[in-house]
Symmetry: C2
Subunit: 99 residues, 2 copies
């Protein structure tokens, strides 16, 4: 498995719009079997911060999703909602509850 | 919902044992309805690093789990496997795939 946890910062006051957009992305990923988890969260310590946590069958599945037409459109449409990117951690999920 | 993503560092060479222990914790959490996700991962950039990503119904459910006898025993038994704690991020999950 392949996992990543990354943070993005919305423009001031724009977090709700960014979260809403990322939840649309999550809905589009429902059809991709290689995506196991895609959780969108508000950061607790930053009023503009949004965390996305993803678990994929493999890094290749994640990479391949970026070529999916629906995903590409969502990335293009979402980019203006992001002021900057923050922490980004890659990991190898070994199991657990909910996987 | 309440989420957290935290990193622990095993003693050199001890990561597999720590991961195995945390997967036992994940198994114990299967019975707790308030715990939605508990994913144990190897950090990609640190041979001793382990990430745990958790999503709970509420912060109170997470807090309450620490009083659960099985969880308490697992925390006590696991503590010697951890050399140090690293990053720790709290968040409010808003939805997504797998929740």
């Amino acid at each position: 498995m392949y996992g990543l946890c990354g943070k993005a910062k919305a423009h001031p006051g724009g977090r709700d719009a960014l979260v809403e957009h990322l939840l649309k992305a999550a809905a589009a990923l429902q059809q991709l079997d290689g995506c196991y988890l895609y959780v969108v969260s508000r950061a607790a310590d930053d009023p503009d911060g949004v965390w996305v946590y993803e678990v994929w069958h493999s890094q290749a599945d994640h990479q391949g999703s970026l070529a999916n037409e629906a995903v590409k459109e969502l990335i293009t449409a979402g980019r203006p909602l992001i002021a900057s990117f923050g922490e980004y951690f890659e990991m190898t999920p070994m199991g657990g509850k909910g996987l």
